[in-house]
């Protein structure tokens, strides 16, 4: 079996802590954005973001990213009460890691160099790898790796978890997490990529992204582990694609070349023709270029483009978490048998020539998830009801 069984999932996002509650917000097409006031951003107008209102366990965690990651991971591991001595390998996806804490420390340090004395406690979890160590410590992980490929990271973690099983691992937890930070809010703002009125994926009026924060986790198991643990798979990861655009550091290839090759690679690994895909949970960031390039790529891969959606207006763009967070909700769509709506979409764009789907009930056998990132970094994954790969 080359497919990887998904036996547990967890999520925390602006809508809720917990997969089912988060999915309900998505199914209803909830607008998850609000004026950001958690800290001073220095921008004239507070941006519309999707912050997590209450992060469980925040006071016991080294930082916000770690608290959200642990929350999602614990939910994903909950179905397995006894691991039967199977070693847990953890693949962690993050871009900011402990930045939300580091940047506050650095500001104080600039103003008062004597605060350097606090460096050990304030910067101890700055590094991305510290998040992996924290998760291993709290979850009984045996080994790990830490990925950071910007907005595609979370989906790459899912793909690498799948491949780790084919290389002999039995139990692999993919986790993606990123907290909102001044660095990312001001960074995307400096690139003029944030839409002041909130993101509107695939809409004619779209003018950029809205940032969010959150975490998600998927517990993948080998065939042997599924048998040993006596659990029923929720779905299967059947294909993963990973490519580079080789075009521009921040802009997508205009013809969606890298994205197209990536989707084809994922479909190829899953052993599927494009016609088998019932839903595409797009990257759909709502920047003018990204949405157009993604649709162009979809049109190249699919003779008939299946229903597609973007979840960014409900969840915000959660960066390294986005790929896996939206993949978790793609599994939910498959379980509930429904096409997901795209909050924020109203006016079709003639340049795109296609509109995202409206909510409707429909059985799904295979879903494609895309995630693209800085540096022309592309990820795609196929999730299937059965282990077809």
């Amino acid at each position: 079996m080359t497919a990887a069984a998904i036996i547990g999932m967890g999520a925390i996002c602006s809508a809720a802590a917990g997969v089912e509650r988060g999915f309900e917000a998505i199914r209803q097409g909830t607008d998850g954005l609000s004026r950001f006031d958690a800290f001073e951003t220095g921008l004239k107008l507070a941006p519309l973001c999707s912050p997590v209102k209450q992060v469980p366990g925040l006071s016991q965690a080294p930082n916000r990213t770690a608290a959200m990651a642990l929350c999602a991971a614990q939910e994903a591991l909950a179905p397995v009460h006894n691991r039967r001595n199977l070693k847990l390998h953890i693949i962690v996806a993050t871009t900011v890691a402990g930045m939300s804490r580091s940047e506050v420390f650095y500001r104080k340090f600039r103003e008062d160099p004597t605060t350097a004395a606090l460096a050990a406690q304030e910067l101890g979890h700055h590094e991305p790898t510290a998040l992996s160590g924290f998760l291993c410590e709290n979850l009984g992980g045996a080994s790990f790796c830490t990925l950071s490929t910007a907005c595609s990271t979370g989906l790459h973690a899912v793909g690498m978890a799948k491949r780790s099983l084919t290389q002999g691992a039995d139990l692999c937890l993919a986790v993606g997490a990123d907290a909102l930070s001044l660095l990312t809010i001001r960074g995307f703002s400096s690139l003029m990529l944030i839409d002041p009125s909130g993101c509107k994926p695939f809409d004619k009026r779209r003018a950029g992204i809205s940032l969010g924060e959150g975490a998600a986790a998927m517990l993948l198991a080998s065939e042997k582990a599924v048998r040993l643990l006596g659990v029923a798979p929720l779905a299967f990861v059947t294909g993963w694609g990973a490519t580079a655009d080789c075009h521009h550091m921040t802009a997508p290839h205009p013809a969606g070349d890298g994205a197209m090759r990536c989707m084809r690679a994922a479909l190829n690994e899953a052993g599927l023709t494009p016609a088998k895909i019932g839903l595409i949970v797009s990257h759909g960031t709502a920047t003018p270029d990204n949405d157009l390039a993604e649709i162009t790529a979809l049109s190249s891969v699919f003779a008939v483009v299946p229903p597609f959606c973007s979840l960014k207006r409900t969840l915000g763009h959660t960066l390294a978490a986005s790929g896996i967070l939206e993949a978790v909700f793609a599994v939910c769509a498959m379980q509930h048998g429904c096409i997901l709506p795209t909050a924020g979409f109203q006016q079709p764009d003639e340049a795109i020539g296609r509109s995202p789907a409206r909510y409707r009930e429909q059985p799904l056998e295979h879903v494609l998830k895309n995630a693209f990132g800085f540096g022309g970094n592309n990820a795609a994954a196929v999730i299937s009801r059965e282990a077809t790969g």
């Binding site: 871009t95 790898t129 160590g133 830490t146 491949r163 490519t243 075009h247």
Partner: protein, 265 residues
């Protein structure tokens, strides 16, 4: 553990290599950060030696372009403006993206950030690639950051040792093949293993790969410290004509983990 053939290796260690700066392409000199310069020159040297073009890239970096992050925050905290150039460069996978763009490497493009275990993590990640993704370019790169030097006295002793290590700055590039023919030296990795409160040396001894024979063992404390110590050790192994099987350990205090690189002649 799976092994890969090392078909080419090259390094830029600024402390012992004054020539490297002359090899930075003019198009990168003013615009791109120094850490990207080091990676680019090491990779260009590596590809020139190998005569083969990589299909994918795995970058190993503990902190990425941390200086660019600092510069971006300095801009916000001083005059309220953060430079988009600094922000783009601050992203951990910026280097891998730039390399794929400059060298037209269209396959998987992943960045592994596991502190001193980053190189071992990247080698282990090669196991997740398909045959069509080879040859793979693995680049270990980190830079010394003045801010960290200032803060270092206030960090924990193990972290201080890493930051102040003799192998804290440079770029080492390897091109790996998934076939084990051709008489090339081989490399394999455990990837990071979580050890919690077990002493690193003890955990290290318990995990030395049983690949036949008695290897020369370089413990983390002997590797010289620094984020790139394991990669430098692997490069030194390649450069040594009398090489014998060597196992190089690394330890990350931030994640309480060790890793082992196994090098076979």
């Amino acid at each position: 553990m799976r092994y890969f053939s090392i078909i080419s290796a090259a390094a830029v260690i600024p402390s012992v290599d004054e020539a490297w700066a002359g090899e930075i392409p003019a198009s990168m000199r003013r615009r791109d950060p120094r850490i990207w310069h080091m990676a680019h020159v090491a990779v260009a040297r590596c590809i020139a030696k190998s005569q083969s073009h990589p299909a994918s890239i795995l970058t190993a970096t503990a902190l990425g372009a941390l200086d660019e992050t600092k510069n971006f925050l300095d801009g916000i905290y001083s005059d309220g403006f953060g430079s988009p150039k600094n922000f783009i460069a601050s992203v951990h996978n910026g280097m891998a993206g730039k390399l794929s763009l400059d060298l037209k490497i269209p396959g998987p493009n992943l960045t592994l950030c596991d502190g001193p275990n980053s190189f071992a993590s990247a080698i282990a990640a090669c196991e997740c690639l398909y045959a069509s993704d080879f040859p793979v370019l693995v680049v270990a790169v980190d830079e010394s950051v003045e801010l960290l030097d200032r803060l270092s006295p206030h960090l924990s002793e193990p972290c201080r040792r890493v930051i102040a290590g003799s192998k804290r700055e440079g770029a080492i590039a390897f091109i790996l093949s998934d076939t084990l023919a051709g008489g090339y030296p081989r490399i394999g990795s455990t990837g990071p293993l979580f050890i919690g409160n077990v002493k690193p040396d003890e955990a290290f001894n318990n995990n030395i790969p049983n690949a036949g024979g008695t290897p020369t063992v370089i413990m983390p404390t002997e590797a010289g410290g620094g984020f790139i110590a394991a990669a430098v050790g692997a490069f030194d192994f390649i450069a040594d004509p009398r090489r014998a099987r060597t196992v190089i350990g690394s330890f990350s205090p931030s994640s309480k983990s060790i890793s082992l690189i196994d090098l076979c002649p």
